[in-house]
Amino acid sequence: MTPLLPIGAYIECLQNSELLAPELRHLLPADNFEREGFFATSKWLNFLLHDNEREYILTTPQAGQFARSERAIQMRVVHTRKCDYLADCQYIPNALTLFNSQAKSHLQAAILQPHHTPLYDFVRRHCSPTHRAHLHSALESIWHCAHTLTQTGLRHGSLTSTNIAFTPEGSVRILNYPIVGPAKCDDMEALAKAAIAIYIGGSELSAFKLLAELSNTPQHNHNKTLRTIASAAEHHGIGPLAELSKAILQKANHSTLLMLLQKLAREPFHPLTLLTQMLKTRTHNPLRIIPTEHPKQTEPHIKIDFSLCDQVMPASDLIVRYRRGNYWGYAHYNGEQIGVEKPLLGATDFEEGRAVVLTERGYGMIDSKGRFVLGDHWSEICWYCNENIATAADNDGRWHIYDRMGHQLSAVACDWMGDASEGFVVARRGNKYGYFSTSGHKRTDFIYDEAYGFSNGVARVCHNGHYYHIDTSLHHLSARLEHALEKE
């Protein structure tokens, strides 16, 4: 039997995982040391290897197998890539220092070139109605690729949209190829699905987004989606799209799929409004972007290529907030990543070194190094940069004031806290309102029926049914000033 070749990387390393450099322990899980000369990962995991200058991204989950010695490495055959559609794979001797020892390690990895774009991002980038020629090129390239793979007999075995990338011109590059082992899916079918996705992206971006989101839900029924696409395509009169979807469902032979891929590549893009409506009814959350990947929580010297992000916000405090799929991350404006220990489902801009984030557990507040100063277990947090405080509510709805280091300042819990301004925070207990200072001291009892934040040194309150203004000394304004304010 052909031995299982390392899918992603050959790495010369020490057998004791304790000696792995700390920053790589979570990147290079090694949990099987039984075989002489090698150890392997039993789980299928994502790998991201890096040195000081480049990232080597293995975009699909895979089991890694690593050699312990130089001899073991030499026993291995380095695959040469003769097919144009396979991403480059390089053997890089002495390229990386992966361990505490001074010795360099060797690496063989499928290299995601900077100009290669994953399928999802490629479609997003080229879906403009006036600039869709690249999507047609991509469809054409998929057909050529499928044809070539059929001719050469090369087999990937676990091809999905996540390991299909494109050159800027729209030529396919397949990553992590080849795997010698049992095939998990049909390559031709995967390419056909990718072509369908690209066609839908070029026709109706909203439908593409919904499709992508749907495909990544755990209980997704692929056949049902294909039936939806086929019926919508028939409604819109897009024959090749309908036929290709049905052919996949009917497990048509490769020559039929090839012929339909060619037809689809030549089909002009049509609006697919019905498909959008049909997919919306299945997602319940229209236009939410799929989690293609979340920012890697790694050492800060990893650089983020903002052009590959789905959304990049303007820098605030020189820190850029970006999104990949459903996950957010932060990076210094020069691309240097700020690692946060948990995946972020939501994030706000940094303001004077603090940002409010949302994890699966709840809201938290982080500092500019990505450390949580308020843990991610709050039901709500508001950060007031100008007042240098945060107000936060726990899961029981109790609000308190916290300083920038996360220390609780207020002694009395409230049912609600409003905006902090001019040194005051308006708060409510029961149905009565009062004021705290931003240092956390209670400045008034909860006596007001209504109370508003301070602005220009005064705040409007309602006490016993009478509306009036108070100043920052919490004194009722004189009738003259009150009159002037009302006039204003």
Binding site: E352, N386, R404, M405
Partner: protein, 281 residues
């Protein structure tokens, strides 16, 4: 160069750029006491002004040897914290100020350490709110120093001391570099303006060795702030070499930067920064 005597005719100028942003509310250990960075900064600045007054004190009055400028930067603006942009040391001495009791630890000649309580005047109150518009502070500093240099062409050049705990929020590193270069390019006939930078360490920052007046061979902390501050700081003139060599035990030439130094060292730095005061007499 850098040899002008500081006299009543040829005054000296010290401009302090103070980071009063929200992050200065974080805590620092200062002379064995835990306090916020803004409190420590105010204490250090007040002691510097007091030191300048003491040095200018003559038999019957305070001599007008110095112009002092203090610019605070926070929120979205950089503003002078004094009544006028430049205020003479005499005017500062005559300004009514609140006083504060300070506990100071002193080492006696026999090695014993004693704590004494001294009254110190407060020109600056601690403050910590908003963002860090360091770029605007540099722009304001340039305007102030430019006009000062025009009025005092034969004086010792102004000394600008930027005290901060972090990076600017209104300008990139490149922009800060350009602004600093523009500031350093100002000069009197005695030499170019001296720009010093002091980065205050946080109690919760990853501990690193304090770094004072590094020379070219000194490895900088692996921190982008350190590199930026080093790059924008002036090379120190030979005038300071002897005092710094005594302090750091490293050979010159030095850069006018102090990174991750405790505020004890800040006070030490300010004393060194005011060496030119020795030339008064």
């Amino acid at each position: 160069m850098y040899s002008a005597q500081i006299t009543r005719q040829h005054k000296g100028a010290i401009l302090l750029l103070l980071d009063l942003s929200g992050s200065m509310a974080e805590r620092v250990v200062f002379e064995g006491r835990s306090m916020t960075k803004s409190q420590a900064l105010a204490e250090a600045v007040n002691s510097l002004i007091q030191e300048c007054i003491n040095r200018s004190r003559r038999e019957r009055s305070t001599a007008d040897y110095f112009d002092i400028g203090i610019v605070g930067y926070a929120a979205d603006e950089a503003t002078s914290l004094l009544k006028n942009s430049w205020q003479s040391i005499v005017a500062l001495d005559n300004t009514p100020t609140p006083t504060q009791s300070l506990r100071l630890r002193r080492t006696l000649p026999d090695g014993r350490s004693v704590e004494t309580i001294v009254e110190r005047r407060c020109w600056i109150e601690p403050e910590a709110k908003g963002r860090t518009p360091m770029g605007k502070a540099f722009q304001l500093a340039r305007r102030m120093c430019q006009s000062w240099c025009c009025k005092h062409p034969d004086s010792f050049p102004p000394i600008v001391i930027n005290i901060t705990d972090g990076e600017a929020t209104d300008a990139t590193a490149e922009e800060i570099g350009a602004l600093a270069q523009s500031l350093r390019s100002l000069s009197t006939n005695d030499g170019n303006l001296l720009l010093m930078n002091i980065h205050l360490a946080s109690e919760h920052d990853t501990p690193t060795e304090p770094l004072r007046f590094p020379n070219e061979g000194t490895p900088l902390p692996n921190n982008r702030h350190a590199q930026l501050l080093y790059n924008i700081s002036s090379p120190l003139p030979e005038l300071y070499n002897a005092a710094i060599e005594e302090l750091t035990h490293t050979p010159p030439p030095y850069r006018a930067i102090c990174y991750n130094a405790s505020l004890d060292e800040l006070v030490g730095l300010l004393a060194i920064g005011s060496l030119s005061m020795d030339r008064i007499i």
